[in-house]
Protein backbone atom coordinates (compact mmCIF):
# COMPACT_ATOMS: atom_id res chain seq x y z
CA UNK A 1 0.00 0.00 0.00
CA UNK A 2 2.76 2.37 1.03
CA UNK A 3 4.69 1.35 -2.03
CA UNK A 4 1.65 2.10 -4.25
CA UNK A 5 1.18 5.46 -2.59
CA UNK A 6 4.86 6.28 -3.09
CA UNK A 7 4.64 5.16 -6.70
CA UNK A 8 1.55 7.30 -7.22
CA UNK A 9 3.21 10.32 -5.59
CA UNK A 10 6.34 9.83 -7.70
CA UNK A 11 4.32 9.49 -10.91
CA UNK A 12 2.17 12.53 -10.05
CA UNK A 13 5.25 14.60 -9.22
CA UNK A 14 6.87 13.46 -12.46
CA UNK A 15 3.80 14.37 -14.48
CA UNK A 16 3.51 17.73 -12.74
CA UNK A 17 7.20 18.38 -13.37
CA UNK A 18 6.87 17.41 -17.02
CA UNK A 19 3.80 19.64 -17.39
CA UNK A 20 5.62 22.55 -15.75
CA UNK A 21 8.66 21.99 -17.97
CA UNK A 22 6.44 21.77 -21.05
CA UNK A 23 4.57 24.89 -19.98
CA UNK A 24 7.86 26.75 -19.47
CA UNK A 25 9.19 25.58 -22.83
CA UNK A 26 5.97 26.56 -24.56
CA UNK A 27 5.84 29.96 -22.86
CA UNK A 28 9.52 30.70 -23.38
CA UNK A 29 10.04 29.12 -26.71
CA UNK A 30 13.30 27.40 -27.56
CA UNK A 31 16.44 28.43 -25.69
CA UNK A 32 18.66 30.15 -28.25
CA UNK A 33 21.17 31.69 -25.86
CA UNK A 34 24.81 31.60 -26.95
CA UNK A 35 27.56 30.42 -24.65
CA UNK A 36 28.87 33.98 -24.73
CA UNK A 37 27.59 37.16 -26.34
CA UNK A 38 29.64 40.09 -27.56
CA UNK A 39 28.87 43.77 -27.09
CA UNK A 40 30.77 46.85 -28.24
CA UNK A 41 30.18 50.29 -26.79
CA UNK A 42 31.54 52.99 -29.09
CA UNK A 43 31.88 56.62 -28.06
CA UNK A 44 30.83 58.84 -30.95
CA UNK A 45 30.65 62.63 -31.09
CA UNK A 46 27.88 63.11 -33.61
CA UNK A 47 26.25 62.00 -36.85
CA UNK A 48 28.98 62.58 -39.42
CA UNK A 49 30.31 60.84 -42.51
CA UNK A 50 33.01 59.34 -40.27
CA UNK A 51 30.36 56.98 -38.87
CA UNK A 52 30.77 54.59 -41.77
CA UNK A 53 34.50 54.01 -41.15
CA UNK A 54 33.98 53.63 -37.42
CA UNK A 55 31.06 51.24 -37.87
CA UNK A 56 32.82 49.10 -40.46
CA UNK A 57 35.84 48.63 -38.21
CA UNK A 58 33.60 47.71 -35.30
CA UNK A 59 31.55 45.26 -37.38
CA UNK A 60 34.77 43.61 -38.58
CA UNK A 61 35.73 43.03 -34.94
CA UNK A 62 32.61 40.86 -34.63
CA UNK A 63 33.72 38.73 -37.62
CA UNK A 64 30.13 38.56 -38.90
CA UNK A 65 29.46 36.26 -41.81
CA UNK A 66 26.91 38.05 -43.98
CA UNK A 67 28.46 37.11 -47.32
CA UNK A 68 25.73 36.42 -49.87
CA UNK A 69 23.01 37.05 -47.30
CA UNK A 70 19.86 39.13 -47.52
CA UNK A 71 20.13 41.68 -44.71
CA UNK A 72 17.19 43.60 -43.24
CA UNK A 73 17.93 46.73 -41.22
CA UNK A 74 15.06 47.56 -38.89
CA UNK A 75 15.43 51.10 -37.55
CA UNK A 76 13.01 52.89 -35.23
CA UNK A 77 10.98 55.43 -37.24
CA UNK A 78 7.97 56.91 -35.52
CA UNK A 79 7.27 60.32 -36.92
CA UNK A 80 9.16 63.48 -37.77
CA UNK A 81 9.37 65.76 -34.75
CA UNK A 82 12.08 68.30 -35.61
CA UNK A 83 14.77 68.62 -32.94
CA UNK A 84 13.52 65.63 -30.97
CA UNK A 85 15.56 62.40 -30.88
CA UNK A 86 12.63 60.17 -31.76
CA UNK A 87 13.99 58.21 -34.72
CA UNK A 88 17.13 56.23 -35.44
CA UNK A 89 19.33 58.74 -37.22
CA UNK A 90 19.25 58.30 -41.03
CA UNK A 91 23.03 58.80 -41.30
CA UNK A 92 23.59 55.80 -39.02
CA UNK A 93 21.09 53.73 -41.02
CA UNK A 94 22.76 54.68 -44.29
CA UNK A 95 26.21 53.95 -42.89
CA UNK A 96 25.05 50.53 -41.64
CA UNK A 97 23.56 49.68 -45.03
CA UNK A 98 26.83 50.47 -46.80
CA UNK A 99 28.86 48.56 -44.20
CA UNK A 100 26.81 45.38 -44.63
CA UNK A 101 27.18 45.60 -48.40
CA UNK A 102 30.93 46.04 -47.95
CA UNK A 103 30.96 42.98 -45.71
CA UNK A 104 29.55 40.97 -48.62
CA UNK A 105 25.76 40.99 -48.11
CA UNK A 106 24.00 40.25 -51.40
CA UNK A 107 21.20 42.68 -50.59
CA UNK A 108 20.45 45.17 -47.87
CA UNK A 109 16.97 46.63 -47.38
CA UNK A 110 15.63 48.93 -44.69
CA UNK A 111 12.18 48.07 -43.37
CA UNK A 112 9.94 49.66 -40.77
CA UNK A 113 6.25 49.97 -39.94
CA UNK A 114 5.75 53.22 -38.02
CA UNK A 115 3.35 52.76 -35.14
CA UNK A 116 1.27 55.94 -35.25
CA UNK A 117 1.80 57.91 -38.44
CA UNK A 118 0.11 56.20 -41.39
CA UNK A 119 1.89 58.20 -44.07
CA UNK A 120 5.11 56.20 -44.06
CA UNK A 121 6.33 57.90 -47.23
CA UNK A 122 6.08 61.24 -45.45
CA UNK A 123 8.01 59.96 -42.42
CA UNK A 124 10.76 58.55 -44.65
CA UNK A 125 11.00 61.78 -46.65
CA UNK A 126 10.78 64.25 -43.76
CA UNK A 127 13.37 62.44 -41.65
CA UNK A 128 15.79 62.58 -44.65
CA UNK A 129 15.99 58.79 -44.70
CA UNK A 130 14.73 58.79 -48.29
CA UNK A 131 17.65 60.99 -49.35
CA UNK A 132 20.16 58.97 -47.31
CA UNK A 133 19.03 55.67 -48.84
CA UNK A 134 18.48 57.13 -52.31
CA UNK A 135 22.09 57.99 -52.93
CA UNK A 136 23.15 54.56 -51.72
CA UNK A 137 20.44 52.87 -53.86
CA UNK A 138 19.05 51.06 -50.84
CA UNK A 139 15.35 50.12 -50.88
CA UNK A 140 12.95 51.02 -48.07
CA UNK A 141 10.07 48.62 -47.38
CA UNK A 142 6.93 49.83 -45.59
CA UNK A 143 6.38 46.87 -43.25
CA UNK A 144 2.90 48.16 -42.42
CA UNK A 145 1.78 47.35 -45.96
CA UNK A 146 3.97 44.45 -47.05
CA UNK A 147 2.58 41.07 -48.13
CA UNK A 148 1.69 39.16 -44.97
CA UNK A 149 2.27 35.58 -43.93
CA UNK A 150 0.74 33.99 -40.84
CA UNK A 151 3.31 32.53 -38.44
CA UNK A 152 2.86 30.57 -35.25
CA UNK A 153 4.56 32.44 -32.41
CA UNK A 154 7.55 30.57 -30.99
CA UNK A 155 6.78 31.71 -27.46
CA UNK A 156 3.42 32.10 -25.78
CA UNK A 157 3.48 35.00 -23.37
CA UNK A 158 0.75 37.06 -25.07
CA UNK A 159 -1.71 34.33 -25.94
CA UNK A 160 -1.82 35.59 -29.53
CA UNK A 161 -0.72 32.16 -30.79
CA UNK A 162 -0.25 33.33 -34.35
CA UNK A 163 0.85 36.59 -35.89
CA UNK A 164 0.60 37.99 -39.39
CA UNK A 165 4.12 39.12 -40.29
CA UNK A 166 5.65 40.80 -43.34
CA UNK A 167 7.12 38.52 -45.99
CA UNK A 168 10.18 40.78 -46.18
CA UNK A 169 10.94 40.08 -42.53
CA UNK A 170 10.34 36.34 -42.71
CA UNK A 171 12.42 36.13 -45.89
CA UNK A 172 15.44 37.98 -44.48
CA UNK A 173 18.58 35.96 -43.72
CA UNK A 174 20.03 38.41 -41.24
CA UNK A 175 18.03 40.91 -39.19
CA UNK A 176 19.65 43.93 -37.62
CA UNK A 177 17.59 45.77 -35.01
CA UNK A 178 18.60 49.45 -34.97
CA UNK A 179 16.75 51.07 -32.07
CA UNK A 180 16.98 54.60 -30.80
CA UNK A 181 17.96 54.45 -27.14
CA UNK A 182 14.93 55.92 -25.36
CA UNK A 183 12.84 55.66 -22.27
CA UNK A 184 9.29 54.46 -22.88
CA UNK A 185 6.19 55.48 -20.96
CA UNK A 186 4.66 52.00 -21.03
CA UNK A 187 7.60 49.58 -21.33
CA UNK A 188 10.22 51.48 -19.32
CA UNK A 189 12.72 51.50 -22.17
CA UNK A 190 12.59 50.99 -25.90
CA UNK A 191 15.71 49.21 -27.16
CA UNK A 192 16.43 46.44 -29.65
CA UNK A 193 13.71 44.04 -28.43
CA UNK A 194 10.95 46.64 -28.20
CA UNK A 195 12.06 48.00 -31.58
CA UNK A 196 10.84 44.75 -33.15
CA UNK A 197 7.25 45.85 -32.44
CA UNK A 198 7.70 47.80 -35.67
CA UNK A 199 7.69 44.65 -37.79
CA UNK A 200 4.09 43.97 -36.75
CA UNK A 201 2.00 45.24 -39.67
CA UNK A 202 -0.39 48.16 -39.23
CA UNK A 203 -2.42 46.86 -42.17
CA UNK A 204 -3.60 44.05 -39.89
CA UNK A 205 -3.14 45.39 -36.36
CA UNK A 206 -3.76 49.12 -36.88
CA UNK A 207 -1.96 52.37 -36.12
CA UNK A 208 -0.98 51.97 -33.30
CA UNK A 209 -0.81 48.20 -32.95
CA UNK A 210 -3.11 48.52 -30.01
CA UNK A 211 -4.35 44.94 -29.89
CA UNK A 212 -0.81 43.93 -28.88
CA UNK A 213 -0.99 46.35 -25.96
CA UNK A 214 -4.11 44.55 -24.79
CA UNK A 215 -2.19 41.27 -24.94
CA UNK A 216 0.59 42.89 -22.89
CA UNK A 217 3.40 45.03 -24.29
CA UNK A 218 6.17 43.03 -22.62
CA UNK A 219 4.48 39.75 -23.49
CA UNK A 220 3.98 40.73 -27.14
CA UNK A 221 7.61 41.88 -27.42
CA UNK A 222 8.73 38.47 -26.17
CA UNK A 223 6.52 36.60 -28.62
CA UNK A 224 7.57 38.75 -31.57
CA UNK A 225 11.28 38.43 -30.75
CA UNK A 226 11.04 34.67 -30.18
CA UNK A 227 9.35 34.30 -33.57
CA UNK A 228 11.64 36.64 -35.51
CA UNK A 229 15.13 36.36 -34.02
CA UNK A 230 17.35 39.43 -34.10
CA UNK A 231 20.82 38.57 -35.41
CA UNK A 232 22.58 41.80 -34.62
CA UNK A 233 21.99 45.13 -32.92
CA UNK A 234 23.21 48.63 -33.73
CA UNK A 235 21.64 50.91 -31.12
CA UNK A 236 21.70 54.65 -31.75
CA UNK A 237 22.49 56.43 -28.51
CA UNK A 238 24.50 59.32 -29.94
CA UNK A 239 21.46 61.43 -29.20
CA UNK A 240 19.13 59.51 -26.91
CA UNK A 241 15.85 60.32 -25.15
CA UNK A 242 15.06 60.44 -21.45
CA UNK A 243 11.93 61.31 -19.47
CA UNK A 244 8.52 60.81 -21.08
CA UNK A 245 9.73 58.79 -24.09
CA UNK A 246 9.31 57.52 -26.73
CA UNK A 247 7.88 60.72 -28.26
CA UNK A 248 7.69 63.47 -25.69
CA UNK A 249 10.90 63.01 -23.74
CA UNK A 250 13.97 65.21 -23.76
CA UNK A 251 17.21 64.97 -25.66
CA UNK A 252 20.02 63.27 -23.80
CA UNK A 253 23.41 63.76 -25.47
CA UNK A 254 24.67 60.28 -24.74
CA UNK A 255 27.40 60.00 -27.37
CA UNK A 256 27.35 56.23 -27.78
CA UNK A 257 26.49 53.49 -30.23
CA UNK A 258 26.02 49.98 -28.86
CA UNK A 259 26.64 46.98 -31.11
CA UNK A 260 25.92 43.40 -30.13
CA UNK A 261 25.46 39.93 -31.57
CA UNK A 262 22.67 39.29 -29.06
CA UNK A 263 19.63 41.56 -28.53
CA UNK A 264 19.27 40.69 -24.85
CA UNK A 265 22.94 41.44 -24.16
CA UNK A 266 22.52 44.67 -26.13
CA UNK A 267 19.43 45.76 -24.19
CA UNK A 268 20.87 44.74 -20.82
CA UNK A 269 24.02 46.75 -21.59
CA UNK A 270 22.03 49.76 -22.85
CA UNK A 271 19.82 49.65 -19.76
CA UNK A 272 22.87 49.57 -17.49
CA UNK A 273 24.38 52.47 -19.43
CA UNK A 274 21.09 54.32 -18.86
CA UNK A 275 21.46 53.65 -15.14
CA UNK A 276 18.50 51.24 -15.17
CA UNK A 277 18.39 47.68 -13.87
CA UNK A 278 17.57 45.29 -16.76
CA UNK A 279 16.40 42.65 -14.29
CA UNK A 280 13.51 44.94 -13.37
CA UNK A 281 12.36 45.42 -16.96
CA UNK A 282 10.10 42.44 -17.52
CA UNK A 283 10.67 41.78 -21.22
CA UNK A 284 14.46 42.06 -20.90
CA UNK A 285 14.62 39.95 -17.75
CA UNK A 286 12.37 37.28 -19.23
CA UNK A 287 14.23 37.33 -22.58
CA UNK A 288 17.37 36.57 -20.57
CA UNK A 289 15.86 33.15 -19.81
CA UNK A 290 15.83 32.02 -23.43
CA UNK A 291 16.55 34.67 -26.07
CA UNK A 292 19.97 35.91 -25.04
CA UNK A 293 22.42 36.68 -22.29
CA UNK A 294 21.59 39.11 -19.56
CA UNK A 295 24.33 38.18 -17.15
CA UNK A 296 27.43 40.39 -17.49
CA UNK A 297 29.58 37.29 -16.89
CA UNK A 298 28.38 35.89 -20.20
CA UNK A 299 29.00 39.09 -22.16
CA UNK A 300 32.37 39.91 -23.70
CA UNK A 301 32.95 43.62 -24.16
CA UNK A 302 34.81 44.15 -27.44
CA UNK A 303 35.46 47.86 -27.30
CA UNK A 304 35.02 50.15 -24.32
CA UNK A 305 34.06 48.78 -20.91
CA UNK A 306 31.13 50.04 -18.86
CA UNK A 307 31.84 53.58 -17.67
CA UNK A 308 32.59 53.99 -13.97
CA UNK A 309 30.19 56.83 -13.41
CA UNK A 310 26.74 56.69 -14.88
CA UNK A 311 24.24 59.51 -14.63
CA UNK A 312 20.90 57.68 -14.79
CA UNK A 313 18.39 58.64 -17.47
CA UNK A 314 15.47 60.60 -16.13
CA UNK A 315 12.32 58.47 -16.06
CA UNK A 316 8.65 58.97 -15.27
CA UNK A 317 7.89 58.62 -11.55
CA UNK A 318 6.35 55.17 -12.09
CA UNK A 319 9.72 53.89 -13.37
CA UNK A 320 11.94 55.35 -10.67
CA UNK A 321 12.26 51.88 -9.16
CA UNK A 322 14.19 50.85 -12.27
CA UNK A 323 17.08 53.17 -11.49
CA UNK A 324 20.18 51.41 -10.20
CA UNK A 325 21.03 52.62 -6.72
CA UNK A 326 24.73 53.19 -6.03
Amino acid sequence: MNSNRRQFATTAAGLAGAAATWSTIRRNGPDVRKARSRVAILSVEGYSDALETLLLAALRDFGLNVRGRNVLLKPNLVEHLPGSPVNTNPKLIGAAATCFLRLGASRVVVGEGPGHERDTEMVVAETSLEQELGHRTITFIDLNRDELVRARTKADYSGLGRLWLPKTVLGADFIVSMPKIKTHHWAGVTLSLKNMFGIVPGMKYGWPKNILHWHGIHESILDVCATVPVDFVIADGIEAMEGNGPLQGELRRFGRIVLADDPVAADATCARLMGLDPLLIFHIAEAGRFLGNLDQNRITMLAEGMPRNIEPFRVLPKFQNLQIRA
Partner: protein, 299 residues
Protein backbone atom coordinates in the same frame (compact mmCIF):
# COMPACT_ATOMS: atom_id res chain seq x y z
CA UNK B 1 -0.72 64.75 -64.28
CA UNK B 2 -4.50 64.34 -64.13
CA UNK B 3 -6.67 62.03 -62.13
CA UNK B 4 -7.43 59.98 -65.22
CA UNK B 5 -3.78 59.17 -65.82
CA UNK B 6 -3.38 57.97 -62.24
CA UNK B 7 -6.48 55.83 -62.63
CA UNK B 8 -5.10 54.32 -65.83
CA UNK B 9 -1.95 53.42 -63.89
CA UNK B 10 -4.12 51.92 -61.15
CA UNK B 11 -6.00 49.83 -63.69
CA UNK B 12 -2.64 48.54 -64.97
CA UNK B 13 -1.79 47.48 -61.44
CA UNK B 14 -5.11 45.67 -60.82
CA UNK B 15 -4.42 42.13 -59.64
CA UNK B 16 -5.25 39.20 -61.94
CA UNK B 17 -7.80 37.95 -59.39
CA UNK B 18 -9.26 41.46 -59.01
CA UNK B 19 -8.55 44.06 -56.36
CA UNK B 20 -5.34 45.80 -55.46
CA UNK B 21 -2.54 45.15 -53.03
CA UNK B 22 -0.66 48.06 -51.50
CA UNK B 23 2.52 47.29 -53.39
CA UNK B 24 3.91 44.61 -55.60
CA UNK B 25 2.39 41.60 -53.83
CA UNK B 26 -0.54 39.49 -55.01
CA UNK B 27 -2.38 39.78 -51.69
CA UNK B 28 -5.38 42.12 -52.17
CA UNK B 29 -5.78 44.73 -49.45
CA UNK B 30 -9.34 45.88 -48.76
CA UNK B 31 -8.17 49.45 -48.06
CA UNK B 32 -6.21 49.74 -51.32
CA UNK B 33 -9.02 48.01 -53.23
CA UNK B 34 -11.81 50.24 -51.95
CA UNK B 35 -9.84 53.44 -52.59
CA UNK B 36 -8.93 52.23 -56.09
CA UNK B 37 -12.57 51.32 -56.81
CA UNK B 38 -13.64 54.82 -55.73
CA UNK B 39 -10.98 56.44 -57.92
CA UNK B 40 -11.80 54.22 -60.92
CA UNK B 41 -15.55 54.69 -60.58
CA UNK B 42 -15.18 58.42 -61.14
CA UNK B 43 -13.26 58.04 -64.40
CA UNK B 44 -14.97 54.95 -65.76
CA UNK B 45 -18.72 54.95 -65.07
CA UNK B 46 -18.94 51.19 -65.55
CA UNK B 47 -16.52 50.87 -62.61
CA UNK B 48 -13.99 48.14 -62.15
CA UNK B 49 -16.66 45.43 -62.05
CA UNK B 50 -14.17 42.62 -61.71
CA UNK B 51 -12.58 44.17 -58.62
CA UNK B 52 -15.98 44.99 -57.12
CA UNK B 53 -16.88 41.29 -57.42
CA UNK B 54 -13.53 40.46 -55.85
CA UNK B 55 -14.28 42.85 -52.97
CA UNK B 56 -17.72 41.32 -52.49
CA UNK B 57 -16.22 37.85 -52.42
CA UNK B 58 -14.20 38.61 -49.27
CA UNK B 59 -17.10 40.00 -47.25
CA UNK B 60 -17.43 37.86 -44.15
CA UNK B 61 -20.62 36.15 -43.05
CA UNK B 62 -21.19 38.73 -40.31
CA UNK B 63 -21.14 41.58 -42.86
CA UNK B 64 -17.64 42.83 -42.13
CA UNK B 65 -14.56 42.91 -44.33
CA UNK B 66 -11.12 41.70 -43.28
CA UNK B 67 -8.05 43.92 -43.74
CA UNK B 68 -6.84 41.73 -46.61
CA UNK B 69 -7.71 38.50 -48.41
CA UNK B 70 -6.82 35.59 -46.13
CA UNK B 71 -7.34 37.48 -42.88
CA UNK B 72 -9.92 35.90 -40.54
CA UNK B 73 -11.07 38.98 -38.61
CA UNK B 74 -13.43 41.81 -39.42
CA UNK B 75 -11.73 45.19 -39.58
CA UNK B 76 -12.13 48.95 -39.89
CA UNK B 77 -11.98 48.56 -43.69
CA UNK B 78 -15.67 47.54 -43.51
CA UNK B 79 -16.48 51.26 -43.41
CA UNK B 80 -14.40 51.93 -46.53
CA UNK B 81 -16.04 49.00 -48.32
CA UNK B 82 -19.49 50.37 -47.45
CA UNK B 83 -18.51 53.80 -48.84
CA UNK B 84 -17.11 52.24 -52.04
CA UNK B 85 -20.19 50.08 -52.60
CA UNK B 86 -22.41 53.07 -52.00
CA UNK B 87 -20.57 54.80 -54.87
CA UNK B 88 -20.75 51.92 -57.36
CA UNK B 89 -24.24 50.73 -56.44
CA UNK B 90 -25.26 47.09 -56.42
CA UNK B 91 -27.12 44.92 -53.95
CA UNK B 92 -28.19 47.11 -51.01
CA UNK B 93 -28.35 44.05 -48.69
CA UNK B 94 -24.57 43.85 -48.81
CA UNK B 95 -24.30 47.39 -47.45
CA UNK B 96 -27.07 46.72 -44.94
CA UNK B 97 -25.06 43.85 -43.49
CA UNK B 98 -21.92 45.95 -43.45
CA UNK B 99 -23.57 48.85 -41.66
CA UNK B 100 -25.27 46.48 -39.20
CA UNK B 101 -21.82 45.14 -38.33
CA UNK B 102 -20.53 48.67 -37.89
CA UNK B 103 -23.44 49.53 -35.58
CA UNK B 104 -22.70 46.45 -33.47
CA UNK B 105 -18.91 46.83 -33.54
CA UNK B 106 -17.58 48.43 -30.42
CA UNK B 107 -14.21 49.29 -29.00
CA UNK B 108 -12.91 48.18 -25.61
CA UNK B 109 -14.20 51.32 -23.92
CA UNK B 110 -17.77 50.23 -24.66
CA UNK B 111 -17.46 47.74 -21.81
CA UNK B 112 -18.03 49.16 -18.33
CA UNK B 113 -14.99 47.36 -16.91
CA UNK B 114 -12.58 48.99 -19.34
CA UNK B 115 -14.31 52.35 -18.95
CA UNK B 116 -13.67 52.05 -15.23
CA UNK B 117 -10.01 51.13 -15.93
CA UNK B 118 -9.56 54.21 -18.12
CA UNK B 119 -11.09 56.36 -15.41
CA UNK B 120 -8.85 54.96 -12.69
CA UNK B 121 -5.68 53.00 -13.53
CA UNK B 122 -5.17 54.46 -17.03
CA UNK B 123 -6.27 58.03 -16.34
CA UNK B 124 -2.99 59.34 -17.81
CA UNK B 125 -4.38 58.49 -21.26
CA UNK B 126 -6.49 61.64 -20.83
CA UNK B 127 -9.63 60.37 -22.56
CA UNK B 128 -13.28 60.26 -21.61
CA UNK B 129 -14.00 56.54 -22.11
CA UNK B 130 -17.75 57.15 -22.05
CA UNK B 131 -17.23 58.56 -25.52
CA UNK B 132 -16.12 55.68 -27.68
CA UNK B 133 -15.78 55.05 -31.37
CA UNK B 134 -14.41 52.21 -33.45
CA UNK B 135 -11.22 50.15 -33.28
CA UNK B 136 -8.90 49.11 -36.12
CA UNK B 137 -9.83 45.52 -35.32
CA UNK B 138 -12.13 43.89 -32.78
CA UNK B 139 -10.80 43.82 -29.23
CA UNK B 140 -8.89 47.12 -29.39
CA UNK B 141 -9.57 50.71 -28.30
CA UNK B 142 -11.22 53.44 -30.34
CA UNK B 143 -8.95 55.33 -32.71
CA UNK B 144 -9.60 58.41 -34.77
CA UNK B 145 -9.30 57.08 -38.33
CA UNK B 146 -11.50 53.97 -37.97
CA UNK B 147 -14.04 56.05 -36.06
CA UNK B 148 -14.08 58.77 -38.71
CA UNK B 149 -14.69 56.35 -41.59
CA UNK B 150 -17.29 54.38 -39.64
CA UNK B 151 -19.16 57.65 -38.96
CA UNK B 152 -18.96 58.61 -42.66
CA UNK B 153 -20.22 55.17 -43.77
CA UNK B 154 -23.10 55.18 -41.29
CA UNK B 155 -24.07 58.76 -42.09
CA UNK B 156 -24.07 57.99 -45.83
CA UNK B 157 -26.15 54.86 -45.35
CA UNK B 158 -28.61 56.37 -42.90
CA UNK B 159 -29.25 59.35 -45.19
CA UNK B 160 -31.55 57.00 -47.13
CA UNK B 161 -32.18 54.37 -44.47
CA UNK B 162 -32.38 56.18 -41.12
CA UNK B 163 -32.34 54.16 -37.93
CA UNK B 164 -32.26 55.13 -34.29
CA UNK B 165 -29.55 52.59 -33.54
CA UNK B 166 -27.26 53.90 -36.27
CA UNK B 167 -27.92 57.46 -35.19
CA UNK B 168 -27.07 56.68 -31.56
CA UNK B 169 -23.86 55.02 -32.66
CA UNK B 170 -22.96 57.96 -34.91
CA UNK B 171 -23.49 60.35 -31.97
CA UNK B 172 -21.19 58.32 -29.71
CA UNK B 173 -18.55 58.25 -32.43
CA UNK B 174 -18.76 62.01 -32.94
CA UNK B 175 -18.53 62.61 -29.19
CA UNK B 176 -15.37 60.49 -29.16
CA UNK B 177 -13.82 62.46 -32.01
CA UNK B 178 -14.58 65.78 -30.32
CA UNK B 179 -13.23 64.49 -26.99
CA UNK B 180 -9.91 63.41 -28.48
CA UNK B 181 -9.05 66.48 -30.55
CA UNK B 182 -5.61 67.98 -29.91
CA UNK B 183 -5.33 71.06 -27.77
CA UNK B 184 -4.79 73.48 -30.66
CA UNK B 185 -7.06 71.62 -33.08
CA UNK B 186 -6.46 68.61 -35.29
CA UNK B 187 -6.21 64.97 -34.33
CA UNK B 188 -3.44 62.52 -33.47
CA UNK B 189 -4.04 58.76 -33.80
CA UNK B 190 -6.13 58.60 -30.63
CA UNK B 191 -5.33 60.44 -27.42
CA UNK B 192 -4.53 64.12 -27.41
CA UNK B 193 -2.42 64.11 -24.24
CA UNK B 194 -0.17 61.52 -22.59
CA UNK B 195 1.21 62.10 -19.07
CA UNK B 196 0.28 65.74 -19.34
CA UNK B 197 2.17 66.32 -22.61
CA UNK B 198 0.09 67.26 -25.64
CA UNK B 199 0.48 65.18 -28.79
CA UNK B 200 1.00 66.70 -32.22
CA UNK B 201 -1.88 66.36 -34.71
CA UNK B 202 -1.47 64.14 -37.76
CA UNK B 203 -2.62 65.23 -41.21
CA UNK B 204 -4.50 62.11 -42.31
CA UNK B 205 -6.23 61.66 -38.94
CA UNK B 206 -7.24 65.32 -38.95
CA UNK B 207 -8.55 65.16 -42.51
CA UNK B 208 -10.54 61.99 -41.77
CA UNK B 209 -12.02 63.37 -38.53
CA UNK B 210 -13.02 66.63 -40.20
CA UNK B 211 -14.68 64.77 -43.08
CA UNK B 212 -16.73 62.85 -40.51
CA UNK B 213 -17.70 66.16 -38.88
CA UNK B 214 -18.41 68.07 -42.11
CA UNK B 215 -22.16 68.28 -41.48
CA UNK B 216 -21.89 69.03 -37.75
CA UNK B 217 -22.19 72.58 -36.41
CA UNK B 218 -19.00 74.50 -37.25
CA UNK B 219 -17.68 74.81 -33.70
CA UNK B 220 -14.48 76.73 -32.88
CA UNK B 221 -12.72 73.37 -32.46
CA UNK B 222 -13.70 72.23 -35.94
CA UNK B 223 -12.69 75.54 -37.51
CA UNK B 224 -9.38 75.58 -35.61
CA UNK B 225 -8.71 72.12 -36.97
CA UNK B 226 -9.53 73.21 -40.52
CA UNK B 227 -7.10 76.11 -40.11
CA UNK B 228 -4.43 73.82 -38.70
CA UNK B 229 -4.82 71.51 -41.69
CA UNK B 230 -4.76 74.39 -44.14
CA UNK B 231 -1.55 75.63 -42.49
CA UNK B 232 0.09 72.24 -42.84
CA UNK B 233 -0.45 72.16 -46.58
CA UNK B 234 1.86 75.15 -47.15
CA UNK B 235 5.03 73.06 -47.38
CA UNK B 236 3.53 69.61 -47.68
CA UNK B 237 5.12 67.39 -50.33
CA UNK B 238 3.97 63.92 -49.30
CA UNK B 239 1.45 62.73 -51.88
CA UNK B 240 -0.89 60.82 -49.56
CA UNK B 241 -1.15 63.51 -46.88
CA UNK B 242 -1.55 66.25 -49.48
CA UNK B 243 -4.31 64.28 -51.18
CA UNK B 244 -6.22 63.69 -47.92
CA UNK B 245 -5.89 67.41 -47.13
CA UNK B 246 -7.40 68.35 -50.51
CA UNK B 247 -10.32 65.96 -50.09
CA UNK B 248 -11.03 67.39 -46.66
CA UNK B 249 -10.50 71.10 -47.29
CA UNK B 250 -12.72 70.94 -50.36
CA UNK B 251 -15.62 69.78 -48.18
CA UNK B 252 -15.09 72.83 -45.97
CA UNK B 253 -15.35 75.19 -48.92
CA UNK B 254 -11.64 75.94 -49.25
CA UNK B 255 -10.12 76.62 -52.65
CA UNK B 256 -8.02 73.62 -53.54
CA UNK B 257 -6.93 74.54 -57.07
CA UNK B 258 -3.35 75.41 -56.06
CA UNK B 259 -3.06 72.33 -53.89
CA UNK B 260 -4.27 70.19 -56.77
CA UNK B 261 -1.62 71.70 -59.04
CA UNK B 262 1.04 70.91 -56.48
CA UNK B 263 -0.27 67.40 -56.03
CA UNK B 264 -0.28 66.87 -59.79
CA UNK B 265 3.37 67.97 -59.89
CA UNK B 266 4.40 65.70 -57.00
CA UNK B 267 2.52 62.76 -58.51
CA UNK B 268 3.91 63.34 -62.01
CA UNK B 269 6.48 60.58 -61.73
CA UNK B 270 3.82 57.96 -61.21
CA UNK B 271 6.21 55.00 -61.14
CA UNK B 272 7.69 56.41 -57.92
CA UNK B 273 4.32 55.99 -56.18
CA UNK B 274 4.51 52.33 -55.32
CA UNK B 275 1.72 52.35 -52.76
CA UNK B 276 -1.56 51.77 -54.64
CA UNK B 277 -3.52 53.29 -51.75
CA UNK B 278 -1.55 56.51 -52.21
CA UNK B 279 -2.05 56.40 -55.96
CA UNK B 280 -5.81 55.98 -55.52
CA UNK B 281 -6.19 58.75 -52.98
CA UNK B 282 -4.11 61.07 -55.19
CA UNK B 283 -6.43 60.30 -58.11
CA UNK B 284 -9.48 61.03 -55.94
CA UNK B 285 -7.97 64.34 -54.81
CA UNK B 286 -7.20 65.36 -58.39
CA UNK B 287 -10.83 64.55 -59.31
CA UNK B 288 -12.05 66.76 -56.46
CA UNK B 289 -14.68 69.24 -57.65
CA UNK B 290 -15.09 67.43 -60.97
CA UNK B 291 -16.89 64.29 -59.84
CA UNK B 292 -18.87 63.08 -56.84
CA UNK B 293 -16.81 63.39 -53.67
CA UNK B 294 -16.72 59.88 -52.17
CA UNK B 295 -16.78 61.11 -48.58
CA UNK B 296 -19.36 63.88 -48.98
CA UNK B 297 -22.36 63.72 -46.66
CA UNK B 298 -25.81 64.82 -47.68
CA UNK B 299 -27.74 64.60 -44.42
Amino acid sequence: MRGRELVLELRRRELPQGGWSFGASLQPSVEATTLAILASAAEFPEGPAYSVRSLLSVQRGDGSWPAFRGDDDGSWTTALAAVALSRVGGDSRVREKATAWLVDSKSREAHWLWRWKFKTADAEAGIDPDKYGWPWMPGANSWVIPTAFAVIALKQFSACTPSEEADRRIRTGIAMLLDRACVGGGWNAGNCVVYGSPLKPHIEATAAALMALQDEPRSPLIMRSVEWLRGQTANLRAVSSLAWSILCLFLFGASVADLKSRLAAHAAEVSRIQNNGTLAIAALALQCGETIHPFALTR
